[in-house]
């Protein structure tokens, strides 16, 4: 029994299903990894990374993009893309009804959110998977929105950043989902041919069709600490080879060791690191930023460097 159970007033019982991960809604949240009870505002200030054990908690697509992009001038794009039930798929429930339920609980139309905005002054397009929507699975709507975002980046010559979290291709859209792998890979290849940067950020978890397409095709592949990514799920592999998997299998550290990703980046350093990378790929100078960027928001002063014509932040006084 944890201490929180002891201090709960008698008569307030916590149901079995919520016992492991949650505390009463409100100001406190329990870390799923180390069980530390955390003060929510502290946690949020730390980008939902446990200050005690550094566990990167799963965060929603919208929060992801809101904390990643500059606060000013970001806007959601391609909101008209909606899922289509071409097969009229039905198991115990109709796919249509499952979609409606997912839309209701998440408030999203499907599992990908796209925004355009700036990262430390650099115009970029960013997309993020909403894992709470059908496990972030990729069907038509996800593939289409990703493709449109990439096409926009391509047309404007500005970088694309993708935060993926996905169980893979969406079964209920069957081969249409599979073909989204080919579609998204094709448009990424066009970006490569045009030298428009694409950074893929792998967040926990990424499997199957998303892993075998857009998530591993970045000019730079980045992963958050301890994220799981692989083609086949651990259960499938264990069933196939009939042995236990080694510790840390398919985790970020494993991916780095085996050459699948370029680096592991802590969530609180994501903005800085990606901005640095993109600035270099784009031959730009990046303004130095205050340590606590959420508090000090600079007035961007448009400047034109020798090489490019996009507005940059002015260097801070030393």
């Amino acid at each position: 029994m944890s201490w929180i159970d002891k201090i709960l007033p008698s008569g307030v019982s916590r149901s079995e299903s919520t016992k492991r991960s949650s505390v009463p809604e409100g100001l406190w949240k329990k870390c799923v990894k180390c069980d530390a009870v955390l003060y929510r505002p502290d946690l949020e200030r730390n980008d939902d990374v446990c200050p005690k054990c550094d566990h990167h908690m799963r965060i929603g697509a919208r929060r992801r993009l809101d904390t990643f992009l500059d606060a000013d001038g970001r806007e959601e794009i391609f909101t008209d893309v909606e899922p289509v039930d071409r097969l009229k798929f039905k198991d115990k429930k109709r796919y249509r009804d499952r979609l409606a339920a997912a839309q209701k609980t998440t408030g999203e139309k499907d599992a990908l959110i796209a925004m355009r905005g700036t990262l430390k002054g650099m115009p970029i397009v960013a997309v993020a998977f909403e894992f709470e929507f059908h496990g972030g699975s990729m069907g038509y709507a996800v593939g289409e929105k990703f493709t449109r975002a990439a096409q926009l980046a391509l047309a404007e010559g500005i970088p694309l950043v993708c935060f993926a979290a996905s169980g893979g291709a969406r079964m209920q859209e069957a081969l249409i989902s599979l073909m989204q792998m080919a579609k998204t890979s094709a448009v990424i290849e066009r970006m490569k041919m045009a030298a428009v940067p694409y950074i893929s950020v792998m967040t926990d978890p990424i499997y199957g069709g998303v892993s075998a397409s857009l998530a591993l095709l970045g000019d730079v592949n980045v992963a958050e600490p301890d994220a799981r990514a692989g083609f086949a799920g651990p259960n499938i592999i264990e069933q196939t080879i009939r042995q236990k998997l080694p510790k840390g299998f398919q985790r970020s550290e494993f991916l780095l060791e085996h050459g699948a990703i370029d680096m592991i980046v802590h969530r609180t350093e994501m903005r800085d690191t990606l901005a640095r990378l993109l600035a270099k790929l784009g031959h730009l100078q990046l303004a130095e930023e205050a340590v606590n960027e959420e508090v000090v928001e600079e007035e961007p002063e448009p400047e034109v460097s020798d090489e490019v014509e996009i507005p940059l932040e002015s260097p801070r006084d030393e």
Partner: protein, 315 residues
């Protein structure tokens, strides 16, 4: 139960046994029973027609996985001449689950790449049951890029239960190897024709499956996840695999309606394994026809058409 026939084919198997017995009697006793045999043969044909005119999606999954179903190495010598197999990905090893090489189709040089499941037990093990590892996809990529340099059309034969789900596969980047193929095939400067000859399972199939023309044999299947896998996840019971097969639409007729598959190549009565030569002839005729069409396009047109088609998936 006759292992050379599927469960729904057992009535045909019984008839065939009778025919064989009579043929034995005929040759031993020199009795004239040819009329009887002829009648039975006609009956067998009619029965096969009847059964095959009404196959469920799940039945077709079984035909596609039939133990006698022709594999890439059955078709290649019948369709092409001078097949010179090329080996290795130049980085790690050679993967026998994917075969590739330069051959001639009607005298013209082409690059052929196919997944191969292997027939006898030893063969199956050597081929890893047709489940490619990263080196297989990377070998295929190497051969495709070579085909681009030497202006050889690429022909791929798809037949796999999926990319290999194993530790070594993951260590060497199975996801990346497939993703890379998807990306490169989308812009390969040579015609690419893909044919699903048996089982097209998920990313493992798509890894050699992006091109200008996608055809399926009549009783082949193509799915994003095996019906058993889908049933396991959604229905929580793999016994619902027939329902999953139906719901996902794994056959060429459904996939052609969705605009994903361009053509269906009809199979001999009772499936490709009943007449491999005839099936090979039909595949060859189809390849010849489609290659003629694609060769008439200017390269730019070809690539634009392929890209637009990729972008249109699901619209």
């Amino acid at each position: 139960m006759n292992p050379n026939y599927l469960d729904f084919e057992q009535p045909i198997a019984e008839l065939e046994v009778k025919i064989e017995e009579l043929q034995h009697v005929g040759s031993d006793n020199e009795l004239n029973i040819s009329e009887e045999i002829e009648t039975l043969k006609q009956k067998s044909t009619k029965l096969t027609e009847k059964i095959y005119s009404n196959l469920s999606s799940w039945d077709i999954v079984k035909v596609a996985r039939h133990p006698l179903r022709p594999y890439s190495m059955d078709y290649i010598p019948r369709i092409f001449t001078e097949f010179d197999e090329l080996h290795g990905d130049r980085h790690f090893g050679d993967d026998n689950a994917i075969v590739g090489g330069i051959a001639r189709l009607n005298g013209e040089p082409v690059m052929v790449i196919g997944q191969e499941k292997g027939r006898a037990v030893k063969d199956k093990v050597m081929r890893n049951f047709g489940m490619p590892k990263p080196e297989g996809y990377r070998k295929a990529l190497r051969l495709m890029e070579m085909a681009e340099r030497f202006k050889l059309p690429v022909i791929t034969l798809i037949d796999t239960p999926g990319a290999y789900p194993g530790i070594d596969s993951e260590e060497r980047g199975i996801s990346e190897s497939i993703a890379q193929n998807l990306a490169v095939m989308s812009r390969l400067k040579t015609p690419v024709i893909c044919i699903v000859i048996g089982e097209g399972s998920s990313g493992g199939a798509l890894g050699i499956g992006v091109g200008d023309h996608l055809a399926m044999l009549q009783y082949s299947t193509y799915f994003v996840i095996s019906p058993e896998g889908c049933a396991n996840i959604i229905w929580k019971d793999s016994a619902n695999a027939p329902d999953a097969a139906e719901a996902m639409g794994v056959t060429s007729s459904v996939l052609q309606d969705l605009g994903i598959v361009d053509a269906t190549i009809p199979e001999p009565l009772g499936g490709a394994h009943r007449d491999v030569d005839l099936m090979s002839e039909r595949i060859k005729a189809h390849l010849t026809e489609q290659l003629d069409v694609l060769r008439q396009l200017a390269l730019e047109e070809l690539l634009d058409q392929r890209y637009q088609r990729l972008l249109s998936y699901g619209n």
